[in-house]
């Protein structure tokens, strides 16, 4: 579990805190989506979970380790993988397999194990066979999956992704989302930060941030069905909500739904 206990964080020189009095528990084998407008503190949350930033007050505990404990900061970072928005800016290696190996190399993993970690991570993201490919020859979706493989090769318990699909086309997006679902099924705790409420609808739990505080925490349907809260948070309703609203306006009785499947199910009844 990653536990945020009344965490506040203010960037040096900033007028207001980026994260204010946030309490949150991130469980294993679950998918948590984090939504919110630009500057609502989503990226700060990601960096706090990974120990790259340390709270000003309150504390973040990763599997019982305080991220403020400098002695154990590498323990924290190897437990929590972080993937950023722009895949190009986080690939270090000159070929695919070397990039995947970068994290475990830093952990001092012996060479025989490096091999198996690299091939396992590439298999999870579906890039097997591209070991010797140069990163700039990959598609954007492949690059982002490579970045995920790089984080997975450290065998983390949790994976935090900061808008991983923002720069991808539909196909790349589908591939990356599929990888995230697989990770959750494999028992990892996945935190998916996104601007896309349609993507957030796939999560078990959604957290909406507003100016660094929790505006909503619960099942996706509760947020997506609340048009006024959505508007207040500056979030755009996913197409499925727009359709549900239109149906309601035309006199159908439609309960709160978050995915196409749920809507179809509701209409069949």
């Amino acid at each position: 579990m990653i536990v945020f206990e009344a965490v506040s964080f203010t960037y040096p020189g900033a007028a207001r805190p980026a994260i204010a009095d946030l309490t949150l528990t991130i469980a294993s084998a679950s998918l948590l989506a984090v939504v919110g407008a630009n500057g609502s503190g989503k990226s700060t949350l990601a960096r706090l979970a990974d120990g790259l930033l340390v709270p000003d007050s309150g504390r973040v505990m990763v599997d019982g380790i305080d991220t403020a404990d400098e002695q154990r900061c590498w323990d924290v970072r190897s437990r929590v993988g972080l993937v950023l928005q722009n895949p190009d800016n986080q690939i270090v290696g000159t070929v695919v397999e070397e990039d995947v190996a970068f994290g475990p190399e830093n952990l001092g993993v012996p060479r025989e194990e490096l091999r198996s970690r690299v091939s396992d991570a590439l298999a999870v993201v579906g890039l097997t066979g591209l070991e010797r490919r140069e990163p700039h020859l990959l598609s954007e979706g492949q690059k982002q999956r490579l970045a995920i493989a790089g984080a997975l090769a450290m065998r983390p318990e949790y994976l935090v992704l900061d808008e991983p699909t923002a720069m991808l086309d539909q196909r790349g997006r589908t591939d990356v989302l599929g990888v995230l679902d697989g990770l959750k099924l494999a028992g990892r705790g996945v935190v998916h930060i996104t601007q896309d409420t349609g993507e957030a609808a796939r999560a078990d739990l959604v957290l909406a941030l507003d100016a660094g505080s929790v505006a909503y925490l619960g099942h996706p349907a509760g947020l997506l069905g609340d048009a006024s809260l959505m508007a207040e948070l500056g979030l755009e309703a996913p197409p499925i909500q727009v359709i549900a609203d239109e149906l309601r306006r035309s006199g159908f009785t439609v309960p709160e739904v978050s995915t196409a499947e749920e809507l179809v199910e509701a209409l069949w009844r």
């Binding site: 790259l52 972080l82 800016n89 270090v92 190399e105 690299v118 700039h136």
Partner: protein, 265 residues
């Protein structure tokens, strides 16, 4: 404009020279350079030239490319030749004389000796980058520099910097290409005017390119930290090129031959 997939000078063909370990090649280049400066007669130069020629043929690098490096030093060659060959009112018999300036046989011979030395140096050493991929070169460099870590030279960090530079060359080239297209679409011209006007035309490309590079560097630092990078201490490596018996044999024999050439001729 097409972004080259392989950059630098590397000629990707299969040859005995290409398959030689980078560290062995670096050792041989060092030995060759030393031998070239120890040689003090024309016979030695002929021997050194033979060594270079043999290496070029073995490497399967086309002669046109192997000799390309000479173009960069043409000015140096001409100055060298002139400095040695031209004499002011020589007492000896002049071959050519223009007023007080003259060229005599001894000076010409001396000048040619130095010119040949520079040419061989350029062709011989460029064979290293022509036959070794940048990645292999970086790995080899790190291994060679590793003993310097004892005197606190950050060998592994320098190698990491080189690797990152290599990694980002194609990415930056792609970005520059995009920026050129974007600025051209806004009416910028990169082909008009003299050299200064043309250089100025690139400012609207270079400024955003640099701004983006800094942004990339920030992101990359975060990503590297998140993946537990903390310098070279305690790092393991997925690939580490090892000297095979063949590499040792070639390095030792080659150094021996070059030492003989350098000392005796």
């Amino acid at each position: 404009m097409k972004v080259p997939v392989t950059f630098g000078q590397y000629v990707p063909v299969d040859s005995p020279v290409h398959s030689l370990d980078a560290k062995a090649k670096m050792g041989l280049v060092a030995a060759f350079t030393a031998a070239l400066f120890l040689v003090d007669g024309p016979l030695g130069m002929v021997a050194a030239a033979a060594v270079v020629a043999a290496a070029v043929v073995l490497s399967r690098v086309p002669w046109r490319i192997a000799l390309r490096g000479i173009r960069a030093v043409v000015m140096i060659l001409m100055i060298t030749l002139a400095a040695h060959a031209l004499r002011w009112n020589p007492a000896t018999v002049a071959l050519v004389r223009v007023g007080p300036l003259a060229v005599d046989a001894a000076g010409l011979k001396e000048g040619l000796f130095f010119v040949v030395r520079i040419v061989l140096l350029v062709v011989g050493t460029s064979l290293l980058t022509l036959t070794t991929s940048p990645v292999a070169l970086t790995d080899g460099l790190e291994r060679i520099m590793r003993p310097l870590a004892r005197v606190r030279f950050p060998a592994s960090e320098v190698a990491m910097m080189l690797t990152i530079a290599l990694r980002f060359i194609p990415t930056t080239a792609q970005e520059a290409e995009k920026l050129i297209v974007a600025q051209t679409a806004r009416g910028a011209r990169f082909d008009a005017g003299g050299p200064i006007a043309r250089a100025r035309a690139y400012a609207p490309v270079l400024v955003p390119l640099f701004v983006n590079l800094f942004r990339r560097a920030d992101d990359l630092a975060t990503a590297m930290e998140a993946r537990c990078y903390r310098g070279g201490v305690g790092r393991t490596r997925l690939h580490e090129s090892r000297m095979r018996p063949r590499d040792w044999a070639v390095l030792c024999l080659g150094t021996l031959v070059l030492a003989l050439v350098g000392i005796t001729l």
